[in-house]
């Protein structure tokens, strides 16, 4: 019975893998472990840009973490940039950030606006 079930499970995994790329997973893992994120969205917005299909170049992250408490916006962004330094130096070209404390997230409308559309300036 379990043998029959397994291929199905495998398929789901394979499908997931094509949706969530390698870099996307890395970003997710790093932010969860280092920021103890209570809510996390990692959105690959690369398809909105002039890059090959399946590329992982443009991301938006929504991070809700108690570690942001008392930090101004710029320091929260710097914290995330630092955690994702490797990714940003190796292929991740745009990173849009929404960083909130759990309390801010609770009281916000929790709507994530999509990033502005590309204007074709993707150089390298």
């Amino acid at each position: 019975m379990s043998i029959i079930l397994k291929p199905g499970v495998g398929n789901i995994h394979r499908n997931m893998a094509t949706i969530a790329g390698v870099i996307e997973s890395k970003i997710r893992n790093k932010l969860i472990s280092q920021l103890e994120a209570q809510h996390l969205d990692v959105i690959n917005e690369s398809y909105m840009h002039n890059v090959p299909k399946g590329a992982e170049t443009h991301f938006k992250v929504v991070v809700v973490s108690p570690k942001f408490e008392g930090l101004p916006l710029i320091k929260r962004h710097r914290l995330i940039n630092e955690i994702l330094k490797d990714e940003l130096e190796n292929g991740v070209h745009a990173l849009s950030i929404m960083a909130k404390t759990p309390q801010q997230w609770e009281t916000s409308d929790q709507v994530v606006e999509s990033s502005p559309s590309c204007r074709g300036g993707f150089g390298k």
């Binding site: 962004h77 710097r78 745009a94 990173l95 990033s115 590309c118 204007r119 300036g121 150089g123």
Partner: protein, 147 residues
């Protein structure tokens, strides 16, 4: 006497000007950026130019500046690889656009958008003596209401 003075001063003046121009071009990119952000109240490092931004994030910043009618100095990082990398190193910030107010790095597109929405941008501009057009419009509306 006057013309004599002018004649003798002018060569000196034009010489120093030439020297300072040359040293500006040769100066390490960090010093050039330093000069740019310190000599202008508001500076935007972006992709493309305000009339033709070449990136959605840069365009968003241009639109915000336009709404507030902020005079600013803009620099196209796509025109110089030195500048593109230099500005990232200077501010220790990995992405473009980048906004400086009064020589201080303020943030990129996300932060500008949030500052715009929260009203913080109006306050920051006020600190450097720039009155946002949105504030002017707001005041006009209030006056209208008082009548």
């Amino acid at each position: 006497m006057n013309s004599l003075l002018r004649r003798s001063i002018f060569p000196i003046y034009s010489n120093t000007l030439k020297i300072s121009c040359r040293s500006f071009a040769d100066a390490p990119i960090k010093e050039q950026i330093d000069k740019i952000v310190k000599n202008n109240k508001v500076v935007v490092f972006m992709k493309g130019v305000p009339d033709a931004p070449r990136c959605g994030f840069s365009n968003a910043v241009v639109q915000i500046m336009r709404m507030h009618a902020v005079p600013y100095d803009s620099h196209d990082v796509l025109s110089s690889e030195d500048l593109r990398q230099g500005i990232k190193d200077y501010s220790n910030w990995p992405t473009i656009p980048q906004v400086f107010i009064n020589g201080e790095f303020v943030g990129g597109c996300d932060i500008m958008l949030q500052m715009h929405q929260s009203g913080e941008l109006i306050e920051e501009l006020k600190k450097v003596g720039i009155k946002s057009a949105l504030l002017t419009a707001e005041e006009a509306k209030q006056k209208e209401g008082e009548k």
